[in-house]
């Protein structure tokens, strides 16, 4: 949960300041390196956080000025409805953020395994 929240906040915050797309790797990688407890927790936590950050931003655009352009891009990519582009956006961010979070964990060991009760 912590990874999800941190990845979401960090990625969304950084992207507002610097919109380059490759932050979808770097921000989750940092979160994975600091907070993950295992490779898979880094993958799913950071992946979900990144996916949610990108899809929320996409939904806000879709609801605002981006409604026309998303309709045209949906027609161009032949995906039918613009909201499917939100799913596609989520999928790409999830994949990138997930593997980056996992790599971050394997680089540092994250927070280590949870102590046995």
């Amino acid at each position: 949960m912590l990874s999800i929240m941190l990845a979401f906040i960090l990625l969304y915050g950084i992207q507002l300041l610097h919109p380059a797309w490759w932050w979808v790797f770097l921000a989750p990688a940092v979160v994975g390196a600091v907070t993950a407890r295992s490779g898979w927790s880094g993958f799913f936590g950071c992946g979900l956080g990144a996916g949610l950050a990108w899809s929320l931003a996409a939904i806000l655009e879709l609801a605002g000025d981006g409604s026309i352009v998303s309709g045209r891009v949906a027609a161009m990519l032949q995906v039918g409805r613009p909201w499917l582009l939100v799913l596609l956006t989520f999928a790409v961010a999830f994949l990138c953020g997930g593997f980056a979070g996992m790599a971050g964990y394997y680089l540092t060991g994250g927070r280590g395994k949870k102590a046995q009760r």
Partner: protein, 818 residues
């Protein structure tokens, strides 16, 4: 173990970064780089952000002084600048703000650099543009432009304005198409403006029928070919009234020996099999002007509607430019300073394509397969070579040498397959667009002209593509000039492929500008043109033989003849006229040929529809569909057997020639089908073509009904300029046809409708199919399209000053230099 896992996942991350950061070919198309493109912070999602907000007051580095800009409710910018430099700077800045991708893409294509953007798929078009010398033509034009200080100032100020906009963009701000195609804009330079003008020259004067005509001559013989393709087409009323006297001394031409170059006798030229093609112009333009003797206001009215291939973003950008010296309103080409078609306080002007022949192909004899020397006037002359380098995205770069002779470039050497089937391998092309010229100057001076003399001196700088310039002034003058650079040719020269070995076929000089066709204030009180031959046979110079048929111009002249107390509303209605004179002449003959015929139920239904049709190509009518198919079938049955021989085909004679045959000689041998034993006449072909028409339509569309309506059968579309799917408009239910005033085809049509009523203050109406914004995410990308389909036009807001009290302005801003 963790280190191994890290390396493994790091490799996956790097692979994702690489794979999602580049475009991929999928099913013949390139999909955008998924990571970059789907990013909601920098990708396509933000390409709609704040697009429709207008700028507030700004400081722009490069401006000299202060410029006020007002946007009306259709987002047309009205520039008020203190000097010319600032006006053109702002025109560049504002146009780039709305149309940057279009501006750059058009000029990249003209420069032969498409492969840099889309990869090897663009290479054939690039090689075509470079081999026909388009970049070199632009370089020559820019040299000429640079010699005229005001023109140079215009193109450099415009470039500075464009660059000021480009420099303000972050990657996230780039127009959508850059993100789809994954590239970035480069600095704008004046050569791009020159390239844009040459691209227009190619569209309007690059058409060349000499290969098809030569094949036709080889099949039919010279006499028949000349008779079937006359320079002065039947039924045509020329632009210059027939009775106009010409004070031109008799011309003496050097005549070559009576030997005809053929395609087959030239050692290296292969014969290519082709199908006979529709030889009518799919595009053209109309304009007309009436003087005060025929208008309700007693002042002239001018109307113009250029017909061009249609696209989104539109070819035109609407703008008003005001400086202390002048104020002009109209449409500009995104990428070039000034206004091309429009009006100012004193005059209005509009162009149609002149259609005179500005390009000849010369068959060459090379000494051998090295192509280092070609034969000319008894000598082997050296070929010069220009090296072109092509950068190919994601592919191997290419370097090639292009041969040039004294005629011009040899786009394709013997044995090569030409990109355009009109070009003959082993032939050199002589095209006036290659010569030094400064068309920008003509428009800049036209924008500020205030009377006929100013108009005349402005357009004298216009060389290519040759245009009919129509003029009207509030002084009461109306005029039309067939203006441009055209060689002196003997009768028929340049209709067929020319002999590149003999200087008798070279161009000996130019028609003096003072002797080009023109009319000022004709007694009939009106003028007009619709791409028809500008002159009758009494004009001593030969201009070509590929002009538009009589139909549109005759309809225009007829309507103007019968109208009295003309108002702008009548002119606007006239631009929407859909009556086809060809149908009006031909259909009664066809129906008469079928008199008493008892056919199938569908055929009888079709005949009933045609008998009740009013010859108007209206969107909901079925008559146009039936007639259009019927006449096509008839032309095919009449000519295909005649002009196809030995595996290759010539040009099909034009439909007005066929109509004349039907009216004058329905038993002509041309109607006989050579492949049957019996002798067919027009009546036989009329019946056979009707039966084929109805059965073909029924097979394709079912019973006569909705699908047979003209606009359903032949809908129009505005494809995206870069052919990106989803970014154009399709299925537009338009009225019109290329032979009527409202000239519309599936891909071309009235690219700008304008009517200007001159007076104390000009009143004008206009509309183009598109929208002021070139951004697909904008509400103003295509907001004029539906009104264009309906045939409407908007009142144009001509402002005298930025302080004019106007309701409904969308925005206002002041721009200052730093």
């Amino acid at each position: 173990m963790k280190r191994v896992r890290f390396v493994f996942t790091a490799v996956i991350v790097l692979a994702l970064f690489w794979a999602l950061g580049r475009p991929w070919p999928v099913a013949g198309a390139r999909i955008p780089p998924a990571g970059k493109f789907l990013s909601p912070f920098a990708g396509f999602w933000v390409s709609g952000r704040a697009l429709d907000e207008l700028p507030g007051d700004l400081t722009l580095s490069g401006l000299d002084g202060e410029v006020a800009v007002l946007w009306d409710d259709r987002r047309v910018p009205h520039i008020f600048a203190g000097n010319d430099y600032d006006a053109w700077f702002m025109q560049g800045w504002l146009t780039a703000r709305d149309r940057l991708w279009q501006m750059e893409f058009q000029t990249d294509v003209a420069a032969g650099r498409l492969a840099e953007i889309i990869g090897s798929d663009g290479l054939d078009l690039d090689r075509y543009h470079r081999r026909i010398g388009l970049p070199l033509a632009a370089k020559n034009a820019l040299e000429a432009t640079s010699e005229h200080p005001a023109s140079l100032t215009a193109v450099t100020a415009y470039a500075a304005g464009v660059n000021a906009w480009i420099n303000s963009l972050s990657p996230a701000d780039l127009p959508l198409e850059y993100k789809i195609l994954d590239y970035s804009p480069e600095p704008w330079t004046p050569i791009k403006t020159a390239l844009l003008m040459k691209s227009m020259a190619l569209t309007l004067s690059g058409n060349n029928a000499e290969r098809g005509m030569t094949l036709t001559r080889e099949i039919l013989g010279r006499d028949a070919s000349n008779r079937l393709f006359p320079a002065h087409r039947p039924f045509t009323e020329p632009i210059v009234p027939k009775e106009t006297p010409w004070a031109i001394p008799e011309l003496v031409h050097r005549v070559p020996p009576d030997k005809l170059p053929t395609l087959t006798e030239w050692e290296f030229t292969p014969v290519v099999e082709t199908e006979p093609k529709e030889t009518e112009h799919a595009t053209g333009s109309n304009h007309w002007a009436v003087n005060g003797s025929r208008t309700a206001s007693r002042k002239p009215i001018l109307a113009g509607d250029p017909h061009l291939p249609l696209s989104l973003p539109s070819i035109w950008y609407e703008i008003q430019i005001t400086t202390p010296e002048y104020s002009a309103y109209g449409v500009s080409l995104p990428g070039a300073p000034g206004i091309l078609i429009g009006f100012n306080r004193d005059i209005a002007w509009s162009e149609t394509n002149g259609e005179s022949d500005a390009l000849d192909q010369y068959l060459l004899k090379f000494r051998n397969g090295d192509f280092e020397h070609y034969f000319h006037d008894g000598d082997w002359k050296p070929v010069s070579w220009i090296t072109e380098e092509y950068r190919v995205r994601d592919g191997k770069n290419l370097k090639e040498k292009i041969a040039w002779t004294h005629h011009g470039p040899v786009p394709y050497l013997p044995g090569e397959k030409p990109f355009s089937p009109q070009l003959v391998p082993g032939a050199a092309m002589r095209w006036t667009a290659h010569d030094r010229s400064n068309e920008i100057r003509a428009f800049l001076e036209l924008n500020r002209a205030s009377d006929y003399n100013g108009f005349r001196s402005a357009i004298a700088h216009f060389d290519n593509p040759l245009q009919n310039f129509l003029f009207a002034s509030q002084d009461g003058d109306i005029a039309i000039h067939h203006e441009g650079k055209l060689p002196v040719r003997r009768e028929g020269q340049g209709v067929y492929l020319s002999d590149g070995t003999d200087s008798a076929d070279d161009w000996p000089g130019w028609i003096p500008r003072g002797q080009m066709p023109r009319v000022l204030n004709p007694s009939r009180g009106y003028l007009g043109s619709a791409n028809q031959n500008p002159v009758s046979s009494s004009y001593p110079y030969f201009l070509g033989n590929d002009f538009a048929p009589w139909e549109r111009s005759a309809r225009i002249f007829h309507l103007l003849d019968v109208m009295e107390a003309i108002t702008p509303e009548r002119m606007l209605a006239m631009q929407n006229d859909t009556v086809g004179l060809y149908a009006r002449k031909l259909l009664p003959e066809l129906l008469a040929a079928l008199e008493g015929y008892e056919g199938t139920e569908q055929e009888m239904q079709g005949l009933k529809i045609l008998r009740n049709w009013n010859h108007a190509y209206d969107a909901d009518a079925i008559g146009p569909t039936l007639f259009d198919r019927w006449q096509r079938e008839l032309l095919n049955l009449t000519w295909t057997d005649e002009i196809t021989q030995g595996g290759f085909s010539g040009r099909r004679p034009k439909r007005d020639t066929t109509l004349q045959l039907i009216l004058d000689d329905p038993g002509s041998a041309w109607f006989d089908d050579r492949d049957t034993e019996q002798i067919e006449t027009f009546t036989d072909l009329a019946l056979a073509s009707f039966q084929a028409t109805v059965s073909g339509l029924a097979e394709r569309l079912g019973e006569p009904g909705e699908a047979w309506r003209w606009s359903a059968f032949r809908p129009s579309r505005l494809a995206h300029l870069g052919r990106i799917p989803g970014l154009g408009r399709t299925g537009l239910h338009t009225s019109g046809q290329y032979g009527v005033i409202r000239a519309t085809t599936s891909t071309s049509g009235q690219s700008w409708r304008m009517v200007v009523a001159l007076g104390e203050k000009p009143e004008a109406w206009g509309l183009y199919p598109g929208g002021q914004s070139g951004h697909p995410g904008s509400r103003h990308y295509d907001d004029f399209v539906d009104d264009w389909v309906r045939g409407e036009a908007y009142p144009l807001l001509f402002l005298d000053s930025p302080e004019d009290p106007v309701h409904g302005l969308a925005g206002r801003a002041t721009f200052r230099g730093q």
